[in-house]
Amino acid sequence: MSVLIFAEVENGKLKRSSQESIFYGAKVAGMMGTSATVIVAGQSDNSSLAEAGKYGASKVLHATDARLNEPNGMAYATVVAAAARQEGASVIVLAKSSLADAMTARLAGKLKAGLAANVIELPDLSNGFRVKSSIYTGKAFAYNDLKADTKILAIKKNTIAVEETDAAATVESFTPALNDGDFAVTVKNVVKATGDILLPEADLVVSAGRGLKGPENWGIVEDLAKALGAATACSKPVSDLDWRPHHEHVGQTGIKVSPNLYIAAGISGAIQHLAGVNSSKVIVVINKDPEAPFFKSADYGIVGDVFDVLPRLTKAAQAL
């Protein structure tokens, strides 16, 4: 019995979401009276892997097969399943990401595991294994009783406040048997925004809607985001109109975010938009229409013109 956490390393550092999942997994291990092991696949140096200790893991398994240097959901699922078997893991924790999403289900299939997605709290072990998850796109929560021997938890961002210690984890190399079938999909090209703060990982988000009138006006949104160190997002019509790339679109049919701060400028607050952002800790709404429905779901509101308010907020943020 142990807890296994899948972690991702980016630019030589454990991703923020992975720090959170390691901390979460270590807490679960503590509750179960067992230890937490991390599994990482692909190129990484040992010092960044040992950092997993800071978040509570005692050991890191590092799968280094050259074929794993490119992220690959199917092959990574095989790696994690092999690690779970070796470690006798009864709980596997992953943070939601485009890579982890491709793995969780394949893992559940391989291990015949009970699976809870969008987990938002530590489990309750007083009576079986119960976890709370977000359902109906954030409009409700479910309490899931996981009955299988192996349990997989895909946790949402901001589920747990991470604390660090100075501990270091030991790093062991791990050589799983891979299947050729895991490499049946070939990656031809990857197009990825660089330098920007990626929306799903961001703590702060500045988002704008049709109220911005056109793509040429996005400078004021980007300026505020930059001043705050925030990622940018948008409503669906904005990405449908090609004012902004699709991966910035949040809501029912877009990305679901749960940052500490979500600033919505010139967005009316349709229920499908709220669905993707309503688990943000603090919501700020800026809209010239005092009747805009979004104000009902906001913590702070400003009735005003985005073209006046956003630049002033930027100045104030720069002055901090």
């Binding site: 699922a77 491709a102 409700a140 309490y143 049946a184 991966h247 049919t253 701060l261 702070y300 308010v309």
Partner: protein, 245 residues
Amino acid sequence: MKILVCVTSVPDTTTKITFTDNNTKLSKAGVTFITGPYDDYALARAVELKEKLGASVTVLNVGGVDAEPVIRKCLAIGADDAIRVNAEPRDAFFVAEQIAAIAKENKYDLILMGRESIDFNGGQVHGIVGEMLGIPSISPVMLLDIDGDTVKITREIEGGKEELEAKLPLVLGCQEPIAEWKIPNMRGIMTARTKPLKVVEPTGTDVLTDVSGYELPPARGAVKMIKAEDAETLIQLLRTEAKII
């Protein structure tokens, strides 16, 4: 080519979700059920592929009889026939087992699903089905083109996209802009009435996850309004009161 499209019947996206029976059941009173919006993208692309390349399109739902209006609508949009597995969907594993059983019997070249259902939002069924059938699963798919036996796919990732190539058979979870949502026309609605809808009983009874109850999110506190002319105070409040910047 044989295409299977798996669809859910879910509360309309504008539904205010509430529960009954001591928070153990979704309250269905006054709720309109629709095809999952992502499933609609999958179906629309399947119908386009049928028109372009020639294919049969089968719609599959694991659900009770109350899902039939949604299934009929899919037939009206252009699917050729439908299968309903007569069981309340319990967890993703159970649903995947049903879909995999049908797929093993009928050998589809392409299994299209939505990126995620909008009720439980697991985004899991396609991956489990792929694993059960031993074929690749890819999600969320934004573009799908078939060129001979090569399938070209664009998948969304954080901050961008991946261009992929694979061979059939495949399981894909779809999202926009793979196709435009289609609305049934009058002729479609008429012919849908006579298209075959087969009802089959479920296989396997594995339920690995049980929902013991539901809860609604706590209401947000009252909104604090700031005058536009004092907009700058917002930044101060975010620092000193909310303590998030």
